[in-house]
């Protein structure tokens, strides 16, 4: 369970996040949708304690991120916008490194890693160095690395960015699996089809503010548009930066 209350963050004169608040519940997929530059990545970075909010509060499973950032990080699995694999290490070594930083004992590490390698279908690449990996292989490795400590809450920043159709479909299946395991899944996207197909709840962000926080059906009903795309354009007030 992730709760965000009235987050503010400014870089100089630019207000990147200007009063964002929402809740992402366990056993649900929550989509953070917004045009490029709306403040999605900055919001997520404050969630996983990389940035400190100027104002507002982040609670993960009831723990205040400002009071105990380490405990919050232990409860989160994070796939940042920057995947950042170590290219001179194999996929397995990349995963093991983060597992040890999370403090997993060696036996638990092996079980968890092997389970993820199975689930993400990466048997053939696990012992290769990540230099030269395709975008899809890179995302798989980064996700396995992020989830190796079995976190209850999962944050994915633009997870399907740069993936082809097959890889995108596989990743969506995986996200549904995470939800069915009872986890809280929060992901950002600027692709509305994806959000519409996956999410139990949609939080729309534009210009650093939440402009809608509904189920997909409620969004359609609220705007009176049968088509989600038209609904988004209506909410955001322009069609700038949205991709179909």
């Amino acid at each position: 369970m992730i709760e965000v209350r009235d987050l503010h963050k400014a870089f100089g004169a630019v207000k990147a996040v200007d009063g964002v608040g929402f809740a992402a519940r366990d056993g649900e997929i929550t989509g953070l949708l917004g045009p490029n530059g709306a403040g999605k990545t900055t919001t997520l970075r404050m969630l996983y304690t990389l940035m400190t909010p100027d104002r507002g509060q982040v609670l993960v499973d009831g723990i205040d991120a400002a009071a105990d950032p380490l405990a919050v990080r232990r409860r989160l699995g994070v796939l940042p916008d920057a995947r950042g694999l170590y290219k001179r290490l194999t996929a397995r070594e990349n995963i093991d490194y983060f597992a040890r930083l999370q403090g997993l004992p060696e036996d638990e590490l092996r079980t968890r890693r092997d389970a993820l390698v199975q689930a993400l279908d990466m048997d053939d690449i696990v012992d290769r160095r990540t230099e030269g990996f395709s975008q899809g292989q890179r995302v798989k490795t980064a996700i396995a690395r992020a989830l190796v400590h079995d976190p209850r809450n999962v944050i994915l920043d633009e997870p399907t960015n740069g993936l082809d159709v097959m890889a995108t479909r596989a990743l969506r299946q995986f996200m549904l699996k995470l939800r069915d395991e009872g986890r809280c899944v929060l992901f950002s996207s600027h692709i509305m089809q994806e959000v519409g197909a996956l999410c139990d709840r949609i939080v729309v962000i534009a210009r650093g503010r939440v402009v809608a926080d509904e189920t997909p059906d409620a969004l359609r009903a609220q705007t009176g548009e049968a088509n989600l795309e038209d609904a988004f354009v209506k909410i955001i007030g322009s069609d700038e930066g949205l991709a179909a």
Binding site: R45, L50, A71, A82, R83, K87, L101, G103, R145, H149
Partner: protein, 402 residues
């Protein structure tokens, strides 16, 4: 879903985890390996030995070989010329413009005997012999000194004979005689040549850790891996300490290889020909390692600090090559203005190591108080630099690459 790992015992591994990952990753990078374990530690001993060999041989050659000197007016002073010949000077035919020849380095020096030499000599008046040379040509120094000594000893000899001819004791003219008692030991003479050695050690440490320092900060930021790394439940300062330890480990190995190389090539230095003694054996190596230990930590922190300011790998490389100039300062300072070492100087990082290593070379060994001062001063500086690096590592913008 399993229980969340939270026991503090498990988290204590973070430092070692980071350390071993960095070591393993960098051992797989050929460029880092070559510069840390091959070119860095081995190039300096090689260049050093070559330089010293060339210097020593040139000095020896000059002292032994016949010296060719153009002599103007040799016909006026056949006795003087004969004495010069006996001293190993080969008189050459006169040249038209000796000043120009010396300036053009066509000749190291030219001897000019005035036409009035013979007449003045017969009347017992002082005569002049001119040595034309260029003191800014260091190369000619030995030759000038040799020729000048020969002329002077000829003059003294002739003077004594004149006194004896007049029934006086030769000592009348020289009431005071200077007797030189050189207190330099065979080892302390070598120190002059080895003045650059402390700098070479620091340089080796620097190069040994340089690529790691870049990779661990600017490099990590450039490939955007700091952001996922910082999402782990490990305080940033622990991650930084693990990285610094990895840099230090590479620097230490680099210095060890360098010291080993020096102890081997030390045997091939022709120092005995110059009546010098130099011991670069294991005792020397162990002391240097001890002296440089806090310096390794200090440099690792400084390098990380500087590299962390850079936006990219390339930029970090530029900054670090500028920082590399810093350790040469004590060597240059002591060469330009040789000051008497004072106690406080041992507490200054770099300068302390420099003086300590020279003490070791001089054969007197470094005193316990000086050793303690040196270690304490540099350790303090290292702790300070690490604290600043930790502070910088906490900065928000450090992790954000885009």
């Amino acid at each position: 879903m399993s229980a969340l790992p939270s026991s503090p015992v498990r988290r204590r591994r973070a430092f070692l985890t980071v350390f071993w990952k960095e070591v393993r990753e960098n051992l797989r990078d050929r460029r880092t390996l070559i510069s840390a374990f091959l070119t860095g530690p081995l190039l300096t001993p090689l260049i050093f030995v070559m330089l010293i060999n060339v210097t020593i041989h040139r000095e020896l050659d000059k002292a032994e070989q016949p010296l060719k000197v153009p002599v103007i007016g040799a016909q006026y002073a056949p006795n003087l010329v004969a004495a010069l010949k006996a001293g190993g000077i080969e008189p050459q035919p006169a040249i038209a413009n000796p000043e120009q020849a010396v300036r053009d380095q066509a000749a190291d020096l030219v001897l000019r005997i005035a036409p009035g030499y013979a007449a003045a000599w017969r009347q017992g008046e002082p005569v002049q012999v001119e040595l034309i040379y260029d003191s800014s040509q260091r190369d000619a120094g030995t030759a000038v000194e040799r020729a000048s000594n020969l002329v002077q000893s000829y003059a003294r000899q002739q003077g004594m004979m004149r006194l004896v001819a007049r029934g006086l004791s030769p000592t009348t003219a020289w009431p005071v005689q200077v007797a030189r008692r050189d207190q330099a030991t065979a080892q302390s003479r070598a120190v002059l040549l080895f003045n650059m050695l402390p700098y070479l050690f620091v340089l080796t440490i620097f190069i040994g850790g340089m690529y790691l320092a870049i990779d661990l900060t600017a490099g990590e930021r450039e490939r955007q891996s700091l952001e996922p790394l910082f999402a782990n439940p490990v305080p940033r300062w622990k991650i930084l300490l693990g990285k610094l330890a990895a840099i230090g480990a590479f620097s230490t190995v680099s210095l060890l290889i360098c010291l080993l190389a020096f102890s081997l090539v030390g045997r091939f230095l022709p120092t005995d020909k110059l009546d010098m003694e130099i011991d670069l054996g294991w005792r020397f190596a162990a002391h240097v390692l001890l002296l440089q230990w806090p310096m390794i930590a200090l440099l690792a922190a400084l390098q990380s600090l500087v590299a962390a300011f850079a936006k990219s790998y390339r930029e970090a490389q530029t900054y670090l090559s500028l920082l590399m100039m810093l350790p040469i300062l004590p060597s240059i300072m002591l060469m330009v203005m040789p000051v008497k070492p004072r106690d406080w100087m041992y507490a200054v990082p770099l300068l302390g190591q420099h003086l300590g290593i020279l003490d070791l070379l001089r054969g007197s060994g470094i005193g316990a108080a000086h050793l303690a001062l040196c270690l304490a001063g540099t350790t303090l500086a290292a702790l300070l630099a690490i604290a600043v690096a930790m502070q910088l590592y906490r900065a928000e913008r450090l992790a954000i690459s885009a």
